[in-house]
């Protein structure tokens, strides 16, 4: 998957707990993204990064925060998980914004 690793691959958590998903790349791409995939909605952008410590909101950013302290790592945090955040989360990377995205294998998150 183009040198991109997501962890964990599966997680079950309880409502109200904090959750952090990690994305690691070995391609040295400038742009990194977090998407969520839900039936009937396709893929929706949560947050993206255009450099170390440079991030911006996407379409569905409420309830999520991100951090990028190194080029290769992009973290997605759910401060207080809710059942509506049950989803499959994908990290993606690209050399140019919104062009030729390479996706990771995803994280299945269940919030009970």
């Amino acid at each position: 998957d183009a040198g991109i690793t997501q962890s964990p691959r599966h997680k079950v958590t309880e409502t109200g707990t904090p959750v952090t998903l990690r994305c690691h790349q070995t391609e040295n791409h400038r742009y990194m993204y977090w998407y969520r995939q839900d039936p009937g909605h396709g893929l929706r952008l949560i947050h993206y990064s255009y450099g170390v410590k440079d991030t911006d909101k996407g379409e569905v950013s409420d309830g999520y925060s991100v951090s990028r302290s190194k080029t290769e790592d992009f973290l997605l945090t759910l401060e207080s998980a809710t059942s509506s955040q049950t989803s499959v989360y994908f990290c993606a990377i690209s050399p140019r914004r919104s062009e030729k995205l390479f996706f990771g294998s995803g994280t299945q998150l269940s919030v009970l």
Binding site: G42, L43, G58, R97, S98, E99, K100, L101, F103
Partner: protein, 113 residues
């Protein structure tokens, strides 16, 4: 509001047939239209993309047709094979406007032998 509308939601095609998936958009600033293919348990992968300066782009059995005036674009899969069974997503963005990439809701294609 869905920026890119995709149809059909699911599609069943016989082996050797033509699969056609359609997408429509409203934002005239969009200038890059990729298609992604996703197999179960995997992330989406870029399949083919088109810019509005051409009306058609072909790569092997996959062709994108683009109608700028109608604000529509479609993916045609010729000689469909069981290995093409996957979910397909169209997407659109404005690269000149440094916009986000907006995805359609996906089409699950099943090619039966």
């Amino acid at each position: 509001q869905q920026q890119v509308k995709q149809s059909p939601q699911s599609l069943i095609v016989q082996k050797g047939g033509i699969s056609i998936i359609n997408c429509a958009y409203e934002n005239t600033a969009f200038d890059y239209f990729p298609w992604y293919q996703q197999f179960p348990g995997k992330g989406p992968a870029l399949l083919i993309a088109i810019r509005p300066d051409v009306s058609e782009k072909k790569e092997g059995r996959f062709t994108i047709s683009f109608n700028k005036s109608a604000k529509q674009f479609s993916l045609h899969i010729m000689d469909s094979q069981p290995g093409d069974s996957a979910t397909y997503f169209c997407a659109a963005t404005s690269q000149t406007g440094a916009n986000n990439l907006f995805f359609g809701t996906g089409t699950r294609l099943t090619v039966i032998p």
